[in-house]
Subunit: 433 residues, 2 copies
């Protein structure tokens, strides 16, 4: 096992701070007290989801060098949520929240209820700890990945709310504006983020719902996004999926078994500052609306010119198969470049971006339809990189490619992704040492 | 084979009316003509999704006595869409739309592109017929079910736009208002509806997207809904799923192999009027928002009292297991009724509703979150019945049950569901004979 692989030890969640779950019930008076009692007296009641989980379903460890959900083979469904700390919360509130979140995430990723008493094992006179809709469902490959936004370290007004300003990584700042940005503040930013991925949407949604609930009184959901269907290949075993423009996407992505590329492009190293982020990464999220109906009326040859690949196989227009490296100097029969210099594949390529690569992990989204009867759909782009500079460089190149006529960036966020929780500890513990 | 089973003959889609696909390209001038030519010349080019479909994945026939998607075991994902005919359209527009929709649906349900030339087999100088995002994906159990709303027969202003008023079933009318209704017109009604269900959301979404596209110039998407995770058991082989309140739901549903119950409660018989609807059904859709955060603070015993079943196993509170019939006369230790008379299970039970039963086929939905950071989530209720009166009777009983404190009906629609397409014909052909 190398330093770059998650450890496979059994996850050992930290001791639960009951404050979070207790806080849940505070609104119902006496029932709040009953929850505490119920939880205490129910020790040994092993009611959880694993009992009924009979299907073969991947289970990923929560603890390890790196958080799960980054190099984990992409699951089928995403529920992403950004949170803001509530006004008046303290450093200890943040710390207890992170501890409670890790405790619950460690359990849920193993296919268990959110606590030992869970959905049905507590006192009948208290609200259950777990909301119950995942009872009987297997772990479904659930991963839960936590991130810290720039505002967690320094609020927009400059306040150091949690005594963390000195620990803020130099690279962790709101992304610069890009050409064509049309960002909705209600789908951007957030002090904290959680990426929940699972093969069953009910399991991913259950995770976000219960983590939101645990945050009660400390952090509040700012925005969220559901996604499906993958848009990037993250392991060699996966077929390259298609995006909502009908093209294979993410062919040249960093694969999860390419240890060297991960070390070079994804993981923050000890030599990078600050020390607490070593083994971590940076997550960039971009909600990219796709003008589906407009795209669908573009002729095939033009669609292919815009992307730089053929639609059928995903081969670069310079020839070969999907995995053939594009030849940007290749001429077509008419003497022009086979791959347009403003095509998406050219503008995104490491060869024209100082060798920059990122680990893409985005999902398609459909948020219903607009008032005009058009699909409200697109790409929820997620990428992991060693520094946000990688994304910024690529996006500057991409913001003038031919595809921009058919997309709008409407949401944005950047978060530092700490290393994985050590056994007996929690994600983010290094911030408080 | 009985009359009540879908025929298993190979689907033989009707001849394509090219008007629909031609209409798609009309906006791009010369390319529109090129599409026609490309489609014609590409006969024999067998490019479709089935080629790359290597996974085992159910394929359901499109033609048959009944439309698929009613008694079909519930797939994992739903994309439902309601359409309005566009102003100025003719009877022939409607007829050609239905013909084109059946042609495309017959192909897509078999794992094929929307037309013979599909996503990549047409002229490069024309927009592809198929949007391409399902290329390489298997059929994934896709079913496409079409329905006709009251306004298709008689517009709200009384106009008989398509010469169909005389064929309007007496039972096909806007549902009456129920206590507590808070309906959004933008999530209600529609001249036509399409229910697309598949085990892969990308396949269901691809179907609705391409059928919307085919409707260009004739019908326009009015509203749509994505759903996941099932909320009802429709075959004995399925475990009873849980709704977003964490309870098993649909335990007492009509199962797809219960031929007698289907004949009694779901399929319109020849003796019912009008004749064109024999072998069909009525679909009711209700978008039911669930006040998740409020529910989650209710103590377990109260949650169980409201539902009338225990949360763990789904057994009625009168005792037994999930499949035990509830005993509404059973007393608890304190001498009260074990199952509250206002519980959901009591109010919904056939024994207190003149034996009325319906076939439920709803899905959970999560439409992101509200501005207050709460989950915008609930149940997209779908039920099939021989007459809308069945739903109306049940909903009148349910609209005062204990659960109403935690739900809001925000969308509503009713559609007549014609019989399945005959080989060589299309869904709805009986309207035009």
């Amino acid at each position: 096992m190398t330093e770059d692989e998650p450890t496979r030890e059994e996850s050992a969640p930290p001791a639960l701070s009951r404050r979070g779950l207790f806080g849940l019930a505070a609104g119902v008076g006496a029932a709040g007290l009953a929850l505490g009692a119920g939880a205490g007296s129910a020790a040994g009641v092993a009611i959880g989801r694993s009992r009924a989980a009979e299907e073969a379903s991947p289970v990923y460890p929560f603890t390890g060098t790196h958080q799960a959900g980054i190099t984990t083979p992409m699951q089928d469904h995403l529920h992403f949520a950004a949170f803001d700390m509530m006004a008046g919360t303290t450093r200890e509130d943040l710390r207890s929240l992170l501890r409670d979140w890790s405790y619950a995430a460690a359990r849920m990723t193993q296919g268990l209820d959110v606590s030992a008493t869970g959905a049905v094992g507590g006192s009948p006179e208290a609200p259950p700890d777990d909301t119950g809709e995942a009872l009987g469902l297997p772990a479904s490959g659930l991963t839960v990945t936590f991130g810290f936004g720039p505002t967690l370290f320094t609020a927009d007004d400059g306040t150091d709310r949690y005594g963390l300003a000195a620990l803020r990584p130099a690279g962790l700042a709101k992304l610069p504006a890009f050409l064509g940005d049309d960002l909705d503040p209600a789908a951007s930013g957030g002090d904290l983020c959680i990426q929940a991925c699972a093969d069953d949407p009910q399991v991913a949604i259950h995770a976000i719902r219960n983590l939101s609930r645990i945050a009660f009184g400390r952090a509040r959901l700012r925005w969220s996004q559901l996604g499906f269907g993958k848009t990037s290949k993250t392991s060699a075993a996966q077929a390259t999926p298609r995006n909502l423009f009908g093209f294979k996407d993410g062919t040249a992505n960093i694969l999860s078994d390419d240890t060297q590329a991960l070390a070079d492009h994804v993981w923050v190293a000890s030599a990078d500052e600050p020390a607490w982020l070593a083994g971590g990464s940076y997550l960039v999220a971009r909600k990219v609306a796709m003008l589906i109906e407009t795209w669908d009326r573009v002729r095939l040859s033009e669609q292919q010119r815009i992307i730089g690949r053929d639609k059928s196989e995903g081969a670069p227009l310079s020839g070969g198969s999907e995995t053939t490296a594009p030849d940007f100097d290749k001429k077509d029969a008419a003497g022009g470049l086979a791959i347009d210099a403003r095509s998406h594949v050219h503008r995104a390529h490491p060869d024209v971006n100082d060798g920059i690569r990122i680990l893409r992990r985005g999902y398609n989204y459909v948020d219903g339809n607009t008032d005009l009867g058009r699909l409200d759909a697109g790409l929820f782009f997620l990428s992991y990189q060693r520094s946000p500079v990688q994304f910024v460089t690529l996006q500057r190149a991409l913001s003038t490619d031919l595809m921009n006529e058919y997309v709008r960036h409407i949401g944005s966020g950047v978060w530092a992704i700490p290393r994985g929780a050590k056994a007996g500890s929690y994600v983010g513990a290094e911030l408080f040492t």
